[in-house]
């Protein structure tokens, strides 16, 4: 045996490879992306039709933005684990590397997906819902970024759980909602601050909260994932 690479280097390469594999597979099959995009487009167009020529108050719109994002996440983020489980490749993956490498690879994939979807959602929102005006863009951008990470973090572990269950589709939002509620409420609050034109330092409490939420969920998940993954 030649000089072995450091264990963490192998681990890192392993989780990056899982991300690349999922990304390649997604480009070929487009399961998650098409579901996500169609969901966002249909929901926002329903909102536009429902509002007609009226314009909704800005705090209602900032709340609705996160409703769209939450349900979009629910329609697409479970795909990465459910696909492995349905096609029977979960065991293949299990033979290849450690649970933690798999968890972080999948987390990274969901994160990229979530950031993409949220950017798309915000763009559509800005174009079609004229009442939605962001006065402090720094708060808004940070909120969207941290919100995406937080959503990806908690959806990934819940997706891993439901992939092993029978009624995957309906179970996903049921399990996710209580876990995501603190995150969503904080994001809605921070978005409202951005639309009210608050200064950046007025939102530090929210950001501190979001960062802690992300760290707590990711840390707990990385330990617990092993128990989900291994039969």
């Amino acid at each position: 045996m030649r000089k072995p690479e450091a264990a963490w280097q192998q681990w890192l390469r392993s989780s990056i490879s899982i991300f690349r594999k999922d990304w390649h597979s997604e480009l070929r099959t487009r399961y998650a992306i098409s579901a996500l995009v169609m969901f966002v487009v249909t929901t926002i167009s329903i909102m536009v039709f429902a509002l007609g020529s009226e314009s909704a108050p800005v705090d209602v719109l900032s709340g609705m933005l996160w409703v769209v994002i939450f349900f979009a996440a629910m329609s697409g983020l479970s795909r990465t684990f459910v696909a492995e489980e349905e096609r029977g490749t979960a065991m293949t993956l299990q033979l290849l590397t450690s649970p933690s490498a798999i968890y972080f690879g999948k987390l990274f994939f969901n994160l990229v997906l979530m950031i993409g979807v949220n950017t798309f959602t915000v763009l559509l929102y800005a174009i079609f819902l004229n009442g939605f005006i962001v006065k402090t863009s720094s708060i808004f951008i940070i909120t969207i970024a941290l919100g995406s990470i937080g959503l990806a973090a908690s959806s990934t572990i819940i997706a891993a759980i439901i992939a092993k269950a029978n009624t995957k589709g309906t179970l996903y939002p049921v399990l996710s909602f209580p876990i995501l509620l603190p995150l969503l409420l904080t994001c809605i609050n921070a978005t409202r601050l951005a639309t009210e034109g608050a200064f950046l330092n007025e939102a530090t409490g929210e950001f501190q909260f979001l960062v802690s939420y992300i760290v707590v969920v990711v840390t707990a998940s990385s330990v617990l994932f092993e128990y989900i993954w291994k039969d």
Binding site: N166, I179, S221, Y227
Partner: protein
Amino acid sequence: MNVFKTVLFVWMTAVIVLALGLPMVAQPSTWYQFPIIPALEEKARIMFFHVPMAWLSVVAFVSSMVYGIKYLRKKNLDDDVRSASAAGLGFLFCFLATATGAIWAKFSWGTYWNWDPRQTSIFVLLLIYGAYFALRSAIEVEEKRASLAAVYSIIAAVTMPFFMFIMPRILSSLHPEPILNTEGKVHMNTTMLIVFLSSLAGFTGLYFWMWRLQVRIQTSHLNRIN
């Protein structure tokens, strides 16, 4: 066990009789009288039942999670039965706490439901319990069901504190300070406090008895299947 059951029965009977029966007067002069509480008056007696329910729903949630963790470490399915039974009772008490709380809210705040932080937290706790059972019913292999349910309850437990802290920022509460409040004061006279603590102890005893019973029922049920 029989002694325990008898003591529990006598204790609970005494608690119920005293909590409902002791007189409430404007100026308590003897030890067995409760001070009257303006506006609430006799309705304040619901406190002797509402607070123990809320307390037990949390105790049950914690014990369910502790046995879940124990299962993950030892992989003994009996721990899972304990965990699931505790969660079942927790759901029951959580529901009762929500119901008694809503009645009290009607007396005190003038509305059954106000999305008060405390009401919202207990609502989320109900949702977590609901999700926990939905998850359990969707997995057939017992070992798998046990680990996933345990993992879910841990994830729920680590996010729950965030919820407790975010809510007061969105709405400040009308709910009275919890009994273990920040000032360390108890706003009750001695008789009330004794009845209240006896009720708390009695319901806790009742919970552990129900839990034991539930575990025995579940275990014998599983043994019959196999």
